[in-house]
């Protein structure tokens, strides 16, 4: 790690615990999960018992009451696991979906759902993107109509991580009363149980990478949601979504950096033992310089990410910095992937090498959670251009 001290003794103790868990209970199964296209349900209660699924939530809801940097440690260690899928599945549950409940839900809803979320008994998904558009969140077309003491939702959602497995879906929908002039205003978040009448999984999507993480298309047909499952105030959902996107994008940065760390370590180990033209690849200046460039790039990404983590931890406004983290680390990971595959030669193109999976997994980073182009739009806007 770096010279500057970011993490304290407790963070490091937690890191050691997560690392032991990954070595013993994740690493031996990664290939199997990738082939099955699914992470087994049984791992969730196990992670719940170890305290991974409610790191920052208050103890009264079954969380550990720890700080954001503890979450960062979890992200880094899951990122290092060589299973981008697991890192993403956990990240969606803990930092992209359930925070909507924790930060905007009523006391009654929190008491009802958070303990089971922290225990890993109820899994979460966040459903914002629709077939008609992802980048333009304000354009979503799923409608919510109030009828007595419940809402009726109609619409569909696309690319929903954990969509097959999740018990609880945090769904963004537009209230019919919404003002057409102020397109952001009408959007609200609803906590939807998968058993809700009218909820269905249309299909499981077949992906390029992150194959052990399930991704679904969802359909809501006159889906009935109790009125109390509205999170926050009617029509204010959009701002909450945007706030939790900041967390999601920082998590993405932490995953990208730690996955790159592991990929570079694997590539260095490979280059040391692979001989060509009478010596190891690490003896060739072209390769040495490439590895030096990659290490430098990753170090830059790490410290850009940590700087934003500090601001986020201190509850400072950091939209520009976090968008830069998302942009930089996603593009970085794809460059690292390209070069690491290259250094592996023909073996880098083969499924049996972890680097091949890494290259497919990180391709998502410039797309999911806000594309690189959208990050640039946000940064430019923050620069008041």
């Amino acid at each position: 790690m770096g010279l500057m001290k970011i993490f304290n003794e407790e963070h490091e103790m937690f890191r050691a615990a997560v690392r032991s868990f990954v070595d013993k209970e994740v690493a031996p199964h990664v290939e199997e999960w990738e082939a099955a296209g699914q992470i087994p349900r049984a791992i969730w209660p196990r992670m719940g018992a170890l305290g991974f699924l409610g790191v920052e939530f208050d103890e009264k809801y079954g969380g550990a009451g720890a700080d954001f940097l503890t979450t960062a440690v979890l992200c880094e260690e899951l990122g290092r696991s060589r299973s981008g899928s697991l890192a993403m599945a956990v990240g969606v549950h803990t930092d992209m979906a359930s925070p909507h409940l924790y930060y905007t839900g009523s006391e009654a809803l929190k008491e009802k759902y958070l303990p089971a979320i922290c225990r890993g008994e109820k899994l979460c998904a966040i459903a914002v993107t629709e077939p008609g558009g992802g980048s333009d969140v304000a354009a979503i077309r799923t409608r919510a109509r109030k009828e007595g003491n419940h809402y009726v939702l109609n619409g569909s959602k696309m690319f929903i991580t954990n969509g097959i497995m999740a018990d609880l879906h945090f769904v963004a929908a537009r209230l019919e009363a919404g003002d057409a002039e102020k397109r952001h205003r009408g959007i609200s978040m609803f906590l939807v149980e998968r058993e809700s009448p009218g909820f269905s999984v249309s299909r499981k999507l077949d992906k390029m990478g992150m194959r052990a993480s399930d991704t679904a298309e969802l359909a809501f047909q006159d889906m009935v949601v109790p009125a109390e499952n509205l999170l926050g105030q009617e029509g204010k959902g959009f701002y909450e979504v945007m706030r939790i996107f900041q967390r999601e994008r920082l998590i993405a940065g932490l995953h990208a950096v730690s996955m790159c760390d592991r990929a570079l370590e694997d590539t260095i180990a490979y280059a040391r033992q692979r001989h060509a033209f009478g010596g190891p690849l690490t003896g060739k200046q072209v390769i040495r310089h490439k590895l030096a460039d990659l290490a430098t790039l990753i170090e830059a990404g790490r410290w850009l990410t940590y700087a934003a983590c500090f601001k986020f931890q201190n509850r400072e406004e950091a939209v520009k910095e976090i968008s830069m983290v998302k942009l930089f680390t996603a593009e970085m990971a794809n460059r690292v992937a390209y070069e690491c595959v290259q250094i592996h030669g023909g073996y880098g193109y083969m499924r049996e090498y972890a680097i091949e999976r890494f290259a497919r997994d990180v391709r998502l980073f410039t797309i999911g959670g806000g594309t690189s182009e959208i990050m640039k739009e946000i940064i430019a806007k923050e620069m008041e251009l």
Partner: protein, 259 residues
Amino acid sequence: MKILVPIKQVPDTATQVKIGADPKGIDTTGITWIVSPYDEYAVEEALRIKEKRGQGEVVAVTLGSERAKEALRSCLAMGADRALHLSDPAWENADTLTVARALAAVIKQEAPQLVLFGRQAIDDDMGAMPAQVAELLGWPCASWIMEETISDDGKSVRAGRQVEGALDIFNIPLPCVLSAQKGLNEPRYPTLKGIMGAKKKEIKDVKAADLGLAADGAQLLVVALEALPPRPPGRVIPGEPAEAVKELVRSLREDAKAI
């Protein structure tokens, strides 16, 4: 039942140990410190005994530098109830007998029914502590145990030791000293709640005077650490397997004189 677990902080098993500028010790820069793995089996077993009996207290103890508190906190995070940190200039260059005397004194004060050690610390591999402490206390001792069962009345323990091709079973009256062998259990890793809760648990500082001990000059002194000569590089025998095997056998016989 009160169980006392003496533990030692040691360099991580993956450490490439280098001799320090002062050749009596190792270069500690960049080392990650851990609880010696055999001691983790002891902590785990103590926690399991407590959980099985539904009551009891697990106390972790170490003699060491300020840094060794981290190791105690790891034990607290795993579930130990409290910890004792023996730290005093009088123990600066302590040899095993000095450490054993300090531990025996603290054990007398604490009066546990069981003392559970790891079979040896993985840094200097002396493995002297369980036997020396048991001797000083006049308690029975079974080392390298693979299993144990405490009697329901809490008056004795049935312990199995690993011997060549068999388990050596003892019935030992309590209090006694046991030392854990690998395979006794699979140590848990701390939960995040355990880690967060550890800082609320007590680590009591214990000085030599608190135990009625004075500095007693070590009888065993490290004169120097000497590096082993570097291992010659491995040799790859190229060629067709049939030919290469012939060459391997010749080399093992004539060069290495191994067969």
